[in-house]
Amino acid sequence: MIQLNRPKVGAATSITIVRINLKDKFTSDFDTANGILSVFTSQLTGKSQYKTPIVNFGADYYNNRFTTIYFYTSPVGSNVYTMHMGTSDYPLGFYDVSIYQNSSTSNFDPAGLNLVYTGLGNVTATNAAASPTFTEYTTNDGDTDSVYITLN
């Protein structure tokens, strides 16, 4: 599972580094200069973010077997690299993740692209970026006011 972290508003964009062995998934004619296309689809809303994340195709990672992907997440805005998370359209929680070998770094349409990875993503929030804090009711609460309703 790809675990992404959504920073609080006002904090810097958050990075998650993911290394996946995609060497045998790319087609032999894949030009790595075209990069990859990632699609994160919220399981709650069904809405998708299409991004061209920054990828390291360098040979230094475990004998060239792993592709390193830098997923950037932000609470306030997005661009072609950065996903905007923690919104009504893209809430915290589970995402279906698809990664394609892209046809160019400016393409955001997965139609016809070679699918190289499918998996699950989970977006969580940093401290102070999560839901409001609250105190739960206790079962031994002595302050039990009764409300009587009179029907007319």
């Binding site: 810097a12 964009t13 958050s14 990075i15 580094i17 790595t32 200069a33 075209n34 990069g35 990859i36 061209t52 920054i54 990828v55 390291n56 195709f57 360098g58 040979a59 230094d60 830098y70 950037y72 690299y81 950065t82 770094t105």
Partner: protein, 38 residues
Amino acid sequence: MTWKTKEGSKLIPEMPEELIEVFKEQYPEEFEKVFDKI
């Protein structure tokens, strides 16, 4: 641009400078593997 990718790294697309700084702060060890100062 004050940083360049090290030989052996191939970033696609090129990482914008503002994201490089975030990268440097959050993953300093990984950053040293990927970037050299110009």
